[in-house]
Symmetry: C2
């Protein structure tokens, strides 16, 4: 089968609504900094009414990664579910403008999902997601022609939450495996890991070639507070694990190999939304080009540094140009 | 009458859709850099389909100024017309989140206006506006209680284009004058000036206390290519004229006085959208506090420098804090 895409991602199709917020704003509403919580439409309306003036931008974790991959010059596809509404039109416009193949049938009787993101002065983002149509992604949305034509199938851990999306996820993994394609997974969020630890552990061990996680997620997965213990536990599970640690860079393990990659320093962290997504974008782009794991990690760090220096989850400049300038 | 607002603005209620673009993108579509052109919905759809991935943010020239005024700690009101749709909800949320009094009755059978903004690598913005409901602002939307309670009524030159909005504009000016309030006007765009020169000249001479214009607008108004000639022509027309010149700062004239205010240097101009709007915000905030014209101009320069350093037409940090830091 011809490889048409470097990466095909499946994830929640979401439009982000991004506001600055104080730490008190979070604590007054029981929001836990740096995490994602699912909310219904009533709660979303109430929270939005209290949030500061916002900016809207297409988001969705895996789709952000595909946007980053495109910015590097990679070929991406994305499968997710939107509603037939203004936000759905925005999401579709933005992904198609990137030259990404967009799969998944829009839902005529549902609204496009949105993520209310409160960004505190330290740049940390706290997310509350009203999934809408995204929660109704189902196996029939997974176009086998897309999956079979992608070198890597990239799956978002958030999809473990809605039951139909989880079946779509399983279908994609099965198709990828049957076609000899690589399977990548991001753990998405520490609470997602808590909710689905058993299923995730089994899936990683049996199916996953490339695992992405941050420190909170990997320690939650292996139920330890110690980073090194978590890394030791992860070794030998997925073929490759790339674990990000914010300012401390990332650790990449594969078999007996261990690589430490530094973060790219930036002047001021404005909004960490999309940091992990863009790290995965750079890493997978490098992998698709057959680069070393260390080189992949450096591309990931570069992309993450770009996105945290401004509001919004996707790069605002060409990552390909940035990589060239950085000699990567 | 009690003064409840430092500034009440009347303008087009618009949501901005902001994309990066090349110079070729503009010239291929006959778009003239740095200007605003009105388009209908069909043309807007076609242009949007060709634009790069975008970010959405509440805009509208005069409303951006009110957002800036709020960020300085000033008390603002805004009158404009939206539709009953998702973008209208976004616009309403954002303005109310700023603590601004929002007047004007939403239009049930019209869509909220939007402005497609293409930002070239030099940071210059080129705007195409589909006015939607904004074009149907009419005199009955102008709440006399708001106008009479504002120290300054600030009018957007763009309102000279749609006929009902122009009548609303005239009503507001009449109310302001009758209540002994100051009237401020921004010329908005050189092509607006070309279309309505006679009416604008008459209005400025008879009614306007504070005129805002950039170099292209003031030279268009007085039909000269020479900046100094235009400034000479403007002298004595409005009580105060504040004329911005991008990197070259601004020139403020009042009677025989002339003040030159430097621009605040920034590292990189990302997106000039909102530069003039924020200059007006700073200037009017200073005026409302009884500061000198030079001081007003410096607050304007400060606010303009903040907004051109990032995408989007409104400040992303507290202008009050910035002013304190700058000793203003």
């Amino acid at each position: 089968m011809t490889t048409l895409y470097d990466v095909a991602a499946i994830g929640n199709a979401i439009v982000d609504v991004i506001s600055p917020a104080s730490d008190d704003f979070l604590s007054d509403r029981g929001l836990i900094k740096g995490t994602m919580r699912l909310i219904d439409d009533v709660e979303a309306q109430a929270l939005y009414a209290r949030m500061a003036a916002a900016v809207e931008a297409s988001g969705g974790s895996a789709c952000n990664s595909i946007a980053g991959l495109s910015s590097f010059g990679g070929r991406g596809a994305f499968i997710g579910k939107i509603g037939v509404d203004e936000l759905g039109a925005v999401f579709t416009h933005d992904i198609e403008a990137l030259g990404v193949r967009f799969g998944g049938v829009p839902l005529t009787d549902g609204v496009t999902g949105r993520c209310l993101i409160n960004v505190t002065p330290d740049g940390e983002r706290t997310m509350t997601t009203c999934l809408g149509a995204a929660a109704l992604l189902e196996p029939s949305d997974v176009d086998s022609a897309i999956i079979e034509a992608a070198a890597v199938v990239y799956l978002e851990g958030y999809l473990f939450d809605p039951e139909p999306a989880r079946r779509a996820f399983a279908k994609a993994a099965g198709l990828a495996r049957a076609s000899g394609r690589l399977i990548a997974l991001t753990l998405s969020d520490a609470f997602v890991v808590e909710r689905h630890r058993g299923a995730l552990l089994g899936f990683i061990e049996s199916e996953v070639d490339i695992l992405f996680a941050n420190e909170a997620e990997i320690t939650a997965l292996y139920q330890t507070k110690d980073f090194d213990e978590a890394v030791a536990a992860a070794r030998g599970k997925a073929k490759i694990s790339a674990i990000t640690r914010g300012k401390q860079g990332s650790t990449i393990i594969s078999g007996d190999e261990t690589h430490h990659v530094n973060a790219v320093p930036i002047e001021k962290v404005v909004d960490t939304t999309g940091a992990g997504d863009q790290y995965a974008a750079g890493f997978l782009h490098g992998l698709a080009r057959g680069l070393s794991l260390d080189h992949c990690g450096r591309l990931g760090s570069l992309a993450a540094a770009e996105v945290i220096a401004h509001y919004g989850p996707r790069p605002q400049v060409s990552l390909r140009d940035l990589a060239t300038q950085a000699g990567l």
